[in-house]
């Protein structure tokens, strides 16, 4: 089934959504409107004729200065049909796209990494925190306008939450407990 065959099937299953076939050298590629992403993924997963049961990868590419600048890329795999599919969603840094974690749990960290590296916001993601970069990092390193080499002083983000007196009292209490 090529891109057009999948588009035909999907248009019947997800009414009102429009898909564009993308150029590709390896396997079928679809451009999906962000608003219909979750419906589309559910249809792709649950329709036996499609059967895309594994989300292999979520990543993104920054096409600055093109507008919209980001393409979020989902690679799907259908083990029963031995078929792969690539979904692409175009987005900007002002917009956000829905999470597909409810469809495939593996999306959790993959989307978190995309947010960490590109700053693409996933609506409804329960845990959108830094994953590879430190928690207090500023900026999103994989963006094309982010410098390749910068110098940053090492930071600690959590000051010690205990005073010296409390610390000593703790030690003393511990010592007493052991001697009795």
């Amino acid at each position: 089934m090529d891109s057009h065959g999948i588009i035909d099937t999907l248009t019947r299953l997800v009414p009102g959504a429009t898909y564009d076939a993308g150029a590709n050298v390896d396997f079928a590629t679809l451009y999906v409107p962000a608003a219909r992403l979750v419906d589309t993924c559910l249809a792709l997963r649950d329709t036996p004729a499609l059967g895309f049961n594994v989300l292999v990868e979520v990543t993104a590419a920054d096409y600055l200065p093109r507008d919209p600048r980001f393409e979020v890329v989902y690679h799907l795999l259908s083990i029963p049909h031995r078929r792969r599919l690539r979904l692409k969603v175009r987005t900007t840094d002002a917009a956000s796209i829905p999470t597909v974690q409810g469809v495939w749990p593996s999306a959790g960290w993959l989307e978190r990494e995309v947010w960490d590296m590109f700053g693409v916001v996933f609506d409804g993601h329960p845990d959108l925190r830094r994953l590879l970069m430190p928690e207090d990092w500023e900026g999103h390193p994989q963006r094309k306008d982010y410098p390749v080499q910068i110098r940053k002083a090492a930071q600690t983000y959590e000051p010690l939450e205990i005073t010296e007196e409390e610390f000593k009292a703790n030690l003393e209490r511990d010592r007493l407990k052991r001697t009795h």
Partner: protein
């Protein structure tokens, strides 16, 4: 009598814990010895290789991707070169394809040996590590013979190989393949029926097939849960469809099943290596003859003007790759290694993304260890065979 305290305890495991395969940090919530929840923290080994790759020429990225999953180095570079060749539309000679298969299988054995040694050591069978490293040393010697570099040979190149096979390569590999099957028997003799090993691994860290696929754990973990998916079988590359081998699967989905899968894979590796070796003539083509990508032979560079210009262009500017994107997966030692590369039509990649099996395995780790004992955490981590360099990239 003092009141009994019943709150859960939070324990920090790692990032310097010796059983976390590098620098993985787990925050465990314990109820006695039972794990109620776990929170992995990664990123300690993040080196920004994907960002660095965008500054390099296409060919220069090969050594970089080898350093991501440092135990399965040449399966990373195989995925990368196949991906770039897909974008270029290059076909490499049959001999190169067979050599790549051989190298990928040797790499798989080398990676599985380190997994076997460390996994068994972490759950108590310390001497296993010495036996496994003994054979891995021979594989590293083969790498050294091949490329002068033991861990990251960078021998695979876009368009073929770096150079022809060295003299004595066939003999070295044959000597290893003759020796190795008896050694696998030795490993299995030490572990497969070992009562202590069985008690530590059977029924521990169980994951069902549907869960394994939902978490994207393609590779030995899914095969341990009964899923027969193997990239070499489902989406053959480099001519794997012409090789005779089995894809081992187990149905229990526990630590022991994953151990069995990898041990049987070692035997399949030997089978594939023997077939590949028989197909590779000692001398012959080691790269395609596309002058855009492969530099001309040295004797022509010294005697012909066009060859000199071509040599200069390739080494100063590299080659350009047509605009577009491609995702190419290979079956790495840890599962599906994939490279997604985007080209904007210039001599440098616009984006290179590695699909890291360890990343997904660590994401699923809390599911695997929940409601298990704290002592089983190291057994489960070992059985997922995570490499933090692969996870953090």
């Amino acid at each position: 009598m003092a009141e009994l305290r019943t709150e859960t305890m939070t324990v920090n495991m790692g990032p310097q814990h010796p059983s976390t395969h590098g620098v993985l940090r787990l925050v465990l919530e314990l109820d006695g010895e039972v794990i109620r929840s776990a929170q992995p923290t990664i990123g300690y080994l993040h080196t920004g290789i994907e960002k660095t790759a965008e500054q390099k020429k296409w060919q220069q990225v090969v050594p970089l991707v080898e350093r991501m999953d440092y135990l399965g180095a040449q399966s990373n570079s195989l995925a990368y070169v196949l991906c770039v060749e897909k974008l270029l539309g290059l076909e490499v000679p049959q001999r190169v394809r067979d050599i790549r298969v051989l190298i990928a299988e040797l790499q798989r054995m080398s990676s599985h040996l380190i997994w076997l040694g460390t996994h068994a050591m972490e759950i108590g069978a310390v001497s296993m590590l010495f036996y496994a490293i003994r054979e891995r040393e021979l594989l590293l010697n083969i790498n050294e013979l091949l490329a002068g570099f033991r861990f990251f040979p960078s021998y695979l190149r876009v368009g073929g190989l770096r150079e022809d096979l060295p003299r004595g390569f066939h003999e070295a590999v044959t000597a290893f393949l003759d020796r190795f099957p008896a050694k696998i028997d030795e490993y299995e003799g030490l572990l497969s029926g070992n009562d202590m090993f069985l008690r530590r691994t059977k029924g521990v860290g169980v994951i069902a097939q549907d869960d394994a696929l939902a978490w994207g754990l393609l590779g030995p973990i899914a095969r341990g849960s009964g899923c027969g998916y193997d990239v070499r079988r489902y989406f053959p590359y480099s001519g794997y469809e012409t090789y005779d081998f089995d894809v081992p699967t187990e149905t229990d989905g526990d630590v022991y099943a994953r151990y069995r899968v990898r041990m049987r894979e070692l035997r399949e590796c030997v089978k594939i290596c023997r077939q590949a070796l028989a197909r590779i003539p000692p001398t012959g083509a080691w790269a395609c003859d596309d002058p855009r990508v492969v530099p001309p032979p040295k004797d022509k560079v010294y005697t012909e003007m066009e060859a000199l210009i071509q040599h200069f262009l390739i080494y100063s500017q590299g080659f350009t790759v047509p605009a577009g994107d491609a995702y190419v997966p290979v079956e790495g030692p840890r599962g599906e290694h994939g490279v997604y590369a985007v080209s904007d039509g210039t001599n440098r990649p616009w984006r290179v993304k590695m699909r890291a099996p360890s990343f997904l395995a660590i994401q699923a780790l809390p599911t695997l260890i929940r409601n298990g004992l704290i002592a089983d955490v190291v057994a489960v981590i070992g059985s997922t065979d995570v490499v933090m360099g692969d996870c953090d990239r």
